[in-house]
Amino acid sequence: MATRRTFLKLTAAASLAAPSIASAQASGRVVVVGGGFGGATAARTLKVLEPKLTVTLVEPNPVFTACPFSNNVLAALREISQQQFGYDGVQKTGVVLAQTAATAVDASGKTVTLTDGSKLPYDRLVLSPGIDINWGALPGYDEAAAEKMPHAWKAGAQTVLLRQQLQAMDDGGLVVISSPANPFRCPPGPYERASLIAYWLKIWKPKSKLLILDSKDAFSKQRLFQNAWAQLYPGLIEWVSLSQGGKVTAVDPATLTVVTDFARHKAAVANIIPPQKAGTIAQKAGVADRTGWCPVEPVAFESTLQPGIHVVGDSAIMGGMPKSAFAANAQAKVCAGAIVELLAGRKPVDPILINTCYSLVAPDYGISVAGVYRPDKGVLADIPGAGGTSPLEVVGGFRGQEALFASSWFKTITTEVFG
């Protein structure tokens, strides 16, 4: 252990010192893996901040499908095409797009291996591969099961499948949503989803019920959600907490049965939001720890396990910051700025980051949770006194206005990320 640490320190010191000999301006090769909210932002920002850098974005899909607002697709309030973004804007910034997947990373040789076996050398690597489903963590839930009981936690075909199942369901059916333990992508997401499905059921299938089986005793914006459910969808949504026996212990896709320690629920539609982990490439690069997620330092988000590799977005352990698109974008901008400094031989300054997660409880009823973060004792910590949720009591058009701000945010961020 001691030798390993010394080695890491030495390489880190070397990689910091070397470029400063050359000049105070950054040049060099940065590879970014993952063209989602974190990766596309990082690639674009690097190029805008320092046009001399060679920035390569590795992403297999020609079109990105965004998760934020994909719950609206389930409730037929949007089409999946409105969630989709190409990479023309990213390329226009001067980023080189490698439309393929990264299959391996050699952290000491500083190369990324691509699907065709070719290797991309880098001076700094940014990983933002998002989440992968932790297959095997929930008995009965595998790739085949996800075709019967969709997770829809990566937007795209899964989202469309869940919407089709809801539309095909008979009025009076039971919709079951299984929500995982922390940490997972988008903490308020399961409850926004329950809200918007309830909104749709109330109009189209009013005899139906929605059951949330939860592996937690508390959730994001809980009182705001529960107050709104009582007001907008009385009797429609039932939430079963961990201590009430809500933890899903197994699923049976053949019979659409969702199993807890206390009951077996036969669903008409089952949305299983399963346990998750950092995108698989993070494990292959050696930057994920035993939790399945990636520890990073809080200034440049460099891995504490492998020097020269930065991790942003859902894959990373970001202290108090939740796994959100807003956070991934904010982290990526800070990371890009810090990499420019590091490549120029300068020390990046301590950042401040904001996160805001909007949720819709109904199309015209928005709520939010915000936080402001700074490095403190080696992690990103909440700045005390800042942040919090929308007020519980409001007058006039407050919720309607937050719903408008939510869609404005989505337009703003997707324009910033994809052009």
């Binding site: 904001i354 402001v372 942040g387 919090g388 929308s390 404005s408």
Partner: protein
């Protein structure tokens, strides 16, 4: 409306032209701590049909005043009060100066 929706009408095309494609030095500045998170909602570029007010190119003293009043609660807001409470006077001054120097 509790806040002014001040939407400077001419600026977006100019801004886009200058901030991408290698643009001016000023646009390539990462900004003081916190500023890059503001742009998640207050973009550099004009966003058609966004109802979040634009702040790029606004007078620094106006931005400072808004931020202080959001922080104290003197000026009502949906989210800015919660955000402004994370910043001290010096940090607000630096962020305001940076936004003021951006193309409107």
């Amino acid at each position: 409306m509790r806040h002014r929706l001040l939407l400077p009408a001419l600026a977006s095309a100019l801004l886009l032209a200058s901030s991408l494609a290698g643009g001016p030095v000023r646009a390539a500045d990462a900004g003081p701590p916190g500023a890059s998170s503001c742009t998640g909602c207050h973009a550099a570029k004009r966003i058609p049909d966004s109802v979040i007010p634009r702040i790029a190119g606004r007078k620094a003293s106006d931005i400072v005043q808004f931020m202080r009043e959001y922080r104290s609660g003197a000026w009502p807001s949906s989210v800015m009060g919660r955000i402004a409470k994370g910043f001290d006077d010096q940090q607000i001054d630096a962020i305001a100066a940076w936004f003021a120097a951006q193309p409107e």
